[in-house]
């Protein structure tokens, strides 16, 4: 049985990202679009974390021993990116609640038509 080398973190991250892209384009519900944005963020974060890492890398903490360390720089950048993703999701959800109470629908095409009709009055 030969080894399967193509299941590593980079290919998985690309597949997860494009699943999010499909979920963003396929339906007209706004909640599904917000969830798909979160999935795309997760895929991008996984791709960043797997840079410069072999199968036996350890966390980059000094113990006095000598071992192969993982790359500390993408991890420090990704910590900020996770908090930014959470903030964007929170603001998008509160805007959706305000829009739902004003137009009464969760479909962005119907809300756009209601808004155009109301401007014509």
């Amino acid at each position: 049985m030969t080894e399967i080398n193509f299941i590593n973190a980079q290919n998985t991250a690309i597949v997860i990202f494009f699943i999010g892209v499909y979920g963003l384009c396929a339906r007209r519900n706004i909640i599904k679009a917000i969830i798909s944005l979160g999935i795309m963020g997760g895929g991008a974060i996984l791709f960043f974390l797997s840079v410069n890492r072999g199968p036996d890398s350890m966390p980059p903490i000094f113990n006095g021993d000598s071992f192969v360390m993982a790359d500390p720089l993408p991890q420090a950048l990704v910590i900020t990116a996770i908090v930014i993703g959470v903030s964007v999701t929170a603001v998008a959800l509160i805007m959706f609640i305000a829009m739902y109470h004003k137009y009464g629908t969760t479909n962005w095409l119907k809300a756009m038509r209601h808004r155009i009709e109301r401007e014509d009055e």
Partner: protein, 98 residues
Amino acid sequence: MRKDVRRRLLILICVIAITLIVLMLLNAFDETMKPEAFNYYIDKAMDETEMPNIVTAIYLQYRLFDTLFEALLLSVAVSAVVYFAAAWEKEEGDIENE
């Protein structure tokens, strides 16, 4: 088929094609990054800052601006959420009132 089922099937085929193209392009080339920043951080982070945790040393001392602006961004998000919750009033033409 109905119109929207056909539209979704077309989008699915396009996204699968783009995924396969990107995967094949990524695995075809064997490039490696030059490990200059990696070597610098591992060799000198313990001497300049006395912190055994290199990740914390990076985002607290080498790249402090990112952390400061991220704290500001959290305050912008909190003020946006509090504003939308407090300033939402019902107008006369709202659909829920009809």
